[in-house]
């Protein structure tokens, strides 16, 4: 296993100077940066804060690299640090844009609403047709509307390929809690997305016949 700095006794090595220790930390971190930034962006909802959060998490991880257990998942360890850093610094922020209410998370909301429009009778693949009309910015707005604990669980679910247990380990709550947040978060996300689709005229466009040629 690569050399690792010990916070108590080892001066952190330079990054661009002599070889050895710094390369080992960076070689583990660098492949994660794209998904780390994406996750941080969904957490914080703006690019400047996301970049700050990733940098802060990287520094914290570097300082604590001595406590990382060789052979365990660096990815899970780093995302735990990133998530904790987010909780510490940003979680008290208020939600933005539309709001979805926790006591109203219907099952298969999009399935039922698109069925009401007759989409299932007219389109071979109604889910693909719906999603082809929804822009990335609409999905971003929908996930931003979720309450914080649901947005964090949904973000780790959608942005990473973690299992429920891995997400529970990252967030530091029981796996049953994460299962519930992911299931309910998905329902809330579907409801928020439909609200946005109605506001942006996507629903009325989908309701018009002749649009099923996906």
């Amino acid at each position: 296993m690569a050399d690792r700095p010990s916070p108590a006794t080892t001066k952190p090595p330079t990054v661009t100077g002599t070889p050895a220790a710094p390369a080992s930390f960076e070689s583990l971190l660098e492949p994660l940066l794209d998904s780390a930034f994406g996750t941080a962006l969904r957490f914080t909802r703006n690019r400047a804060d996301a970049e700050d959060l990733v940098q802060e998490a990287a520094l914290l991880a570097y300082r604590g690299f001595g406590s990382f257990e060789p052979g365990s998942s660096f990815r899970a360890w780093f995302f735990r640090i990133l998530t904790n850093a987010y909780f510490t610094k940003y979680r008290k922020r208020k939600r933005e844009g539309i709001q979805v209410e926790l006591d109203d998370a219907p099952d298969i909301h999009l399935y039922l609403r698109t069925a009401e429009l007759g989409l299932h009778d007219r389109a071979e693949d109604p889910a693909s047709l719906l999603m082809s009309k929804v822009a990335t910015e609409h999905v971003e707005a929908a996930i931003a509307a979720l309450p914080d604990e649901y947005r964090v669980a949904a973000t780790l679910y959608f942005m990473q390929d973690f299992s429920y247990q891995e997400i529970a380990d990252v967030v530091g709550v029981p796996v049953g809690t994460i299962r519930s947040r992911i299931h309910r978060g998905r329902r809330l996300l579907q409801k928020a997305l439909w609200t946005i689709a109605e506001e942006r005229g996507i629903v009325s466009a989908l309701g018009a016949r002749g649009d099923e040629g996906d």
Binding site: L59, D125, V139
Partner: protein, 82 residues
């Protein structure tokens, strides 16, 4: 008590989220799969939910990452080590 040898629509519906995420036991995954092979209504719901999840995942992962992010992190680590 014997394990069930097949699931009803209600039993499948209550497990659909976990099935989508492959979070059921091997035996339950198999029971859900067998039901979906024979029930067009449940199979339609499953295909729709899976399609929406794939679409959401694909759009949420479409992000332009700052090209110099690793360099900035390296600079901060280097600055700290001085």
């Amino acid at each position: 008590m014997h394990p069930p040898d097949r699931f009803t629509c209600e039993e499948v519906f209550s497990r659909l989220d976990d099935y989508l995420d492959r979070e059921l036991s091997v035996a339950e995954m198999q029971l859900v799969r067998e039901h979906l092979e024979t029930c067009a209504a449940c199979a339609g719901e499953y295909r729709f939910e899976a399609g929406v999840l794939d679409g959401l995942r694909e759009k949420l992962r479409r992000i332009a990452v700052p090209g110099d992010l690793m360099a900035r992190i390296a600079e901060r680590i280097a600055a700290e080590s001085k």
